[in-house]
């Protein structure tokens, strides 16, 4: 069976992963960070796939980043031994952290308050295991974390070290970088990220505390950082597949996007210029991350079944199981004739959000062999 036949035989909606594009994206970021002399700690939250993790970890056992303890548990069971759980830890979750550590995974947690540090220290003492913790630094006012010059930083470091846990370092995430466009602006955000976390590391060291890890990361800043002096590792996740939000800020082009939703035409409203498909927001997700960008891509950019972008064709609206395809506002392009039963592929606004709507990937093999592979995907917490 040829790959085209295999695609045509898939039930729809299905989630297609283009392995060649994925490997190209991985190689690009690795080459950039190698040039800067900094390690990559890939974030595995986008694809949540053991097969994809093997590709991005180059078959190694880490380092890796996760957003849930479920991810930590699955990837640890698959042999990953160096994991950062990069969401502020709730005290109730420390039992699962300790259980994973007891099974041989060097799992570290993130926190930004004295209450959390004391809980981590108490759990460490009770278990006789110094849980490594990184203090989260707020570099852009975007989410969690302490200011680098907050005097409580040192108090938290001491509470960890003196309380029986371990201060592993500092960590930041420039979520604000998603809101700017182009190499110049993204490089400035990367420098802001670097400066904040390096200042925090210096404050801890000046107080006599250890700070072996200095961790930055977001896909946009990872690609446009020009100098990472003082940084020991970079985290990034969505770069593996990219998506329309990343294309919209200039981190990639649509030709780099490795993820698409295969859908089938189920009807038309010809007088309105609509083509209806069987991929609604249940498949595409409700993410409208391009809505605030210069080009609003609706619920996604439409390609033919081979993955070639169709001029100006986007998903203009979505219901639960209906996608409504039309030309983007103002387009002079002709609406293509897509009969009932024809297949299209839709590039997602946000890969993390679209991927979680599916239980697996239908993989177009990078080696060009015929047919598709299936990679399972998990979710949950």
């Amino acid at each position: 069976m040829t790959t085209a036949d295999a695609l045509a035989a898939l039930p729809t909606p299905s989630l297609i992963l283009d392995e060649a594009r994925m490997l190209r994206n991985i190689a690009r970021l690795r080459a950039h960070l190698d040039g800067l002399g900094v390690a990559l700690r890939p974030h595995l939250k986008t694809l949540k796939s053991v097969d994809a993790a093997r590709a991005v970890l180059k078959g190694g056992t880490g380092p890796a980043t996760v957003s849930t303890l479920k991810e930590a548990e699955v990837f640890a069971a698959a042999g990953v031994t160096d994991i950062l759980y990069a969401v502020g830890v709730a005290p109730q979750k420390l039992a699962r952290v300790l259980a994973l550590r007891a099974r041989g995974c060097d799992l570290a947690v993130v926190l930004d308050s004295l209450e959390q540090a004391e809980a981590v220290a108490a759990a460490s003492r009770a278990a006789g295991d110094r849980i490594p913790a990184l203090i989260e630094i707020d570099c852009d006012g975007h989410r969690a974390g302490m200011k680098a010059d907050d005097p409580a930083l040192v108090a938290i470091g001491r509470a960890l070290e003196e309380g029986g846990a371990a201060l592993r370092g500092v960590v930041t995430h420039s979520g604000g970088s998603y809101g700017v466009v182009g190499a110049q602006a993204l490089a400035a955000f990367a420098e802001q990220e670097r400066a904040a976390v390096v200042a925090a590391a210096e404050a801890l060291r000046a107080a006599g505390l250890p700070c072996p890890v200095v961790s930055v990361g977001s896909t946009p800043t990872a690609h446009f950082a020009r100098d990472l002096s003082g940084v020991t590792e970079v985290r990034a996740g969505v770069f593996v597949t990219f998506d329309l939000v990343m294309a919209g800020i200039g981190v990639c082009t649509t030709d780099d996007i490795a993820l698409s939703v295969l859908a089938t035409v189920i009807g038309h409203q010809r007088e309105r210029g609509w083509i209806l498909v069987d991929a609604g927001w249940m498949a595409l997700s409700r993410d409208r991350g391009t809505a605030g960008q210069a080009v609003d891509q609706g619920y996604g950019v439409v390609c033919d079944a081979q993955g070639r972008v169709l001029d100006d064709l986007i998903v203009v609206a979505a219901n639960q199981e209906h996608g409504i395809i039309g030309l983007r506002p103002g387009s002079a392009a002709a609406l293509p004739e897509l009969a009932v039963g024809a297949q299209v592929r839709i590039l997602p606004n946000h890969a993390c959000a679209t991927a979680t709507e599916f239980d697996g990937y239908e993989v177009l093999p990078a080696d060009g062999s015929a047919g598709l592979r299936h990679w399972p995907r998990f979710r949950g917490w």
Copy 2:
């Protein structure tokens, strides 16, 4: 273990279903439709749970509505024998339709084109089974369907009946009703829905074609229809749990919402008035259905762990695994003190979208018994 203890012991995020509210919602709509003398064909797409389906079907075997063939397959296996698959059918899906019918389920499909009718007729002839099809009518320009006065309506009916399939009737959905507020406006939409589909039924009958089923449905119109003359059944789905979108247009109050996401506080940004929790959009969904309503509820309304709404507290922003709680803009309320580790419950914008983020419900039993029940949930196509 008390129910409060059982909630406190749940991992977070978890999805909580208040069975008493759910049963009250079901009883309310059934009483309204009984008064109008019309059958309810519940849409099972919201909860995708066999346990919840038993409650809304009152233990019976149908009628029911589904949005995917996966739903049809699961509910048929659980004993439901009368199912309408209410999304326009792709020709490629007819083999699964026939397989379910061969197992004894009276599964009907929906279509709105001659191409589909011919495909359904051909599949019926090949299988020796007259697949019943309903023609979709467009009552509000919102999505799929033909105008009631489209001359192609009769041609499609004939293609079904004469081609070896069965014309089961006509079906419409007033998705536009979600965009208006209040009993008067919703009653007007209900009448528009009724008038369109009854006119289509009359056109078919005038041409000598059968039209036993005349099906309308949306949660807003189902609750506010005042006269359903000529209609044989009403479909509705989200009424089982309701949500903030439905509250925003006046179909229910927040006190009727039976679904909430249990989350744990993981941090604060006190100078910004933010409380961070471990339920981001991966748990709440990206649905921002209240964004265009008079009151924008962000990513959800925040309640205490017992489910009592906290004044003016909403999820103002969401990242993948972080929810940012704050007071709604302009509020004079005091930010409550919620320490790291405290639990909250978040009412969803859109129940269908939030529920699909989870693999099951933790059910607060209607009989008041201590502890929680677990109802599994499925998804996929």
